[in-house]
């Protein structure tokens, strides 16, 4: 079986579904047995969902429009 370090090393790829099928299976098996890695995996997955959905650093509409207007003045003939 894989050891915890390898599972942690592959955690990101595993979350992104970017591991080969055989390795994916081994990681899955490890997560089924190892509480620590399971906790790490679960919480990272949930945190990433929060991060992805957070709309962090979205640009306020008025700022966006101000920048576009200023830019257009510079580039329009």
């Amino acid at each position: 079986m894989l050891d915890c370090k390898h599972v942690v090393d592959e955690l990101s790829n595993y979350l992104d579904d970017e591991v080969a099928a055989a390795l994916r299976q081994e990681i899955g098996a490890h997560l089924g047995e190892c509480r620590t890695c399971r906790a790490l995996y679960d919480s990272t997955r949930r945190i990433l969902r929060i991060v992805t959905d957070s709309r962090s650093f979205d640009i306020p509409e008025e700022v966006s429009e101000r920048i576009v207007q200023r830019l257009m003045k510079k580039i329009e003939p």
Binding site: M1, L2, D3, C4, K5, H6, V8, D9, E10, L11, S12, N13, L15, D16, D17, E18, V19, A20, A22, L23, E26, H30, E33, C34, R35, T36, R38, A39, L40, D42, S43, T44, R46, I47, L48, R49, I50, V51, T52, D53, S54, R55, S56, F57, D58, I59, V63, S64, I67, V68, R70, L71, M72, K74, I75, E76, P77
Partner: protein, 641 residues
């Protein structure tokens, strides 16, 4: 009766049934390991294969070797147990007394004397053993099979002695009186082995009286092994070899040299599988550290070479392995791993000083009782393998580097390049058309309105990118302005090899970095390189997600905080990350770019991006997890991992 908690085993637990049948009782040595019944099974199989199975040596010969070596190791437990066994086999007490005190004075056949001499030499001066010693045995008419069995019994004795000390096994019967003065007649030079014999005030003899203590002649060192004949066993027809080849990618020489005893090999393979390869308690890497550190102090070149190689294939850099072999205290290991190696080395090298305090110390570092017991068994296994190797004279296996099944042993290597899936995503059915293509074509023809449309489409992306770098609204607006103008001015450079959005992001990254540089503050850009210098990131917060105070907090963490509050938490956490990790997470997880796009936008290779992404995500998780779950932070590897 020992350092570890006893767990009642079912009446039908096979090793105990077999021990009751063979010995009439279950030795405390095994009772003390009931926390790990699988280990008892593996040990019992090896012990039975070495001692009980019919072979070229008689059972009494084997037990005498064991008794003699255990006495030389000053191990009361093993001496008492095997004295008892030999008495049961009908050997008179006086003869046993002679074997323990002065075997050369015992009335034994010449070859028995020689086997005891050789076993003592192997136990006390393993590095001195050479082809010459085996020739001496052969001259007396001993066969290679008999010599192999002798080496195995000596190695098993080292194993059992280490184990009994490590688990604190209380002797099953009172040790014989002879043990108190063991070796008084023949343990010459005992002072050379730490602890052994010194307490008994033994008389130092001459080399003639104690040939096992005589140093080898000059030029002897590292004489060519392996010393013993072998039988032609092949992995196709011999399962233990198939097992080694599958798990290690090669069949280690130490096992190839024992083919005269195939039943023992079978038991050893099971022992390796059970003790070394199981990963639910100590990790494979921690176990390899133990093997490496002890083998190094035993000056066992073979085992050091093999286990450095194994660590390399587990992703451990060579210089770290070298440092562990030289002095693990300077290797920058975690305090827990350092304590683990201190523990193993004390048990292996200074068994007289080992005690319950050492176990307690390990538990204080967060190891569980089961893990501490596994460390004891690993230490015993290492001494077994070290002794075996010295007796067999195998040469280091240098083949493994390429033969290892990379995907199994080192997933990191396997994943160093883009995986098939990732490549398929990029190239499998050809890249999807860039939705910006039409507008880009117009913009390149200096259609300002088309470019304005592209800017509106990607304003969010550019803003997030530059904000993630400059970390304040004012600079972000400036940097964004710069980025967009630069993009417009260099549209002719856009070749369409990447998506427009990726190309634009790369320009935004550069504009953001320029802004930070221009600011000349201490927000250093130095950390954009040198990933290797950052060392290992150890997640500390490994609390399971639930159960939380309210279902809302555990099942749907999003609901535990209002949307605006959540966003503020995420932004604050993101801004605490070092720049290079922040950028990787920003592009991949906030911007939702693919791994390849994010790597391209940052001008990095995919493996580097992935490394930074992993670390960034773990750091982010470390920052954020406490806000989204109930229980306080816990320590990494809190013992029940």
């Amino acid at each position: 009766m020992g350092f570890f908690r006893e767990v009642e085993q079912p009446a039908a637990f096979q090793p105990f049934v077999a021990l009751r049948e063979t010995l009439g009782f279950v030795p405390n040595l095994f009772r003390a390991q009931t926390l790990l019944p699988r280990v008892i099974e593996a040990e019992a199989r090896v012990a039975a294969a070495v001692l009980f199975n019919a072979g070229a040596l008689s059972r009494i010969q084997k037990e005498c070797i064991l008794l003699k070596v255990a006495a030389a190791q000053r191990n009361a437990y093993c001496v008492a147990a095997h004295w008892q066994v030999l008495r049961g086999l009908g050997v008179p007490e006086e003869r046993l007394e002679r074997v323990v005190r002065a075997h050369r004075a015992a009335e034994l056949p010449a070859d028995d004397h020689a086997l005891l001499d050789f076993s003592l030499r192997l136990s006390r001066h393993p590095t001195w053993v050479g082809a010459r010693d085996l020739d001496t045995l052969r001259e007396l008419g001993l066969t290679d099979r008999q010599i192999l069995e002798t080496v195995l019994v000596a190695a098993l004795t080292e194993f059992l002695c280490t184990l009994s000390t490590g688990v604190g096994a209380v002797p099953d019967v009172t040790p014989p009186v002879a043990f108190d003065t063991a070796g008084a007649g023949d343990a010459a030079g005992a002072g050379a082995t730490a602890g052994a014999g010194e307490a008994a005030g033994v008389r130092l003899g001459t080399a003639a009286e104690a040939p096992w203590d005589a140093p080898p002649p000059a030029g002897h060192a590292a004489s060519a092994g392996p010393y013993l004949a072998t039988a032609g066993l092949r992995p196709e027809t011999f399962p233990p070899f198939a097992f080694f080849r599958e798990r290690f990618g090669f069949i280690p020489g130490i096992f190839r040299a024992q083919t005269l005893c195939p039943d023992v090999l079978d038991a050893e393979a099971e022992m390796v599988g059970t003790v070394l390869l199981k990963e639910d308690l100590l990790t494979r890497t921690q176990k390899e550290y133990i093997l490496l550190a002890i083998s190094a102090t035993n000056l066992n070149t073979y085992c050091v070479a093999v286990h450095c190689e194994m660590l390399r294939n587990l992703g451990i850099p060579d210089d770290l392995s070298d440092q562990i072999a030289v002095d693990h205290h300077l290797a920058g290991l975690s305090p827990a791993d350092t304590a683990l190696l201190d523990f193993a080395l004390t048990l292996a090298r200074r068994s007289a000083a080992f005690g319950a305090d050492d176990i307690a110390g390990l538990l204080r570092h967060g190891f569980s009782e089961e893990q501490a017991l596994e460390a004891v068994v690993m230490t015993a296994l290492t001494r077994f393998l070290n002794t075996l190797q010295m007796g067999l004279g195998t040469r280091p296996d240098f083949r493994p580097r390429r033969a290892f099944p990379v995907e199994r042993v080192n997933p990191r290597t396997a994943a160093a390049g883009p995986t098939d899936e990732a490549m398929g995503h990029l190239h499998g059915e050809g890249p999807e058309p860039d939705p910006d293509d039409d507008l880009v074509t117009l913009a390149r023809a200096r259609d300002a309105k088309a470019f304005g449309e592209l800017v509106r489409r990607h304003a969010g992306r550019v803003h997030r990118t530059v904000f993630g770098i400059v970390r304040n609204a004012e600079d972000a607006e400036d940097a964004m302005q710069d980025a967009l103008l630069r993009a417009y001015q260099s549209l002719d450079d856009f070749r369409g090899t990447a998506r427009f959005s990726t190309w634009l992001t790369r320009i935004a990254v550069n504009a953001g970095l320029d802004k930070v540089r221009a600011r000349k503050t201490h927000d250093s850009l130095d950390d954009l390189r040198d990933d290797a210098e950052d060392g290992e990131f150890q997640p500390r917060f490994v609390q399971a997600w639930g159960p939380a105070a309210s279902p809302a907090a555990s099942d749907d963490p999003e609901r535990a905080h209002a949307r605006a509050e959540r966003r503020a938490l995420v932004e604050a956490a993101l801004l605490t990350l070092p720049l290079k990790y922040r950028l990787a997470v920003m592009l991949r997880d906030i911007q939702q770019m693919s791994t390849e796009e994010a790597a391209a936008a940052l001008g990095l290779g995919v493996p580097t991006l992935k490394t930074r992404l992993l670390r960034g995500r773990l750091m982010l998780r470390e920052e954020l997890a406490p806000h989204f779950q109930r229980r306080p932070a816990d320590a990494w590897r809190d013992g029940d991992a």
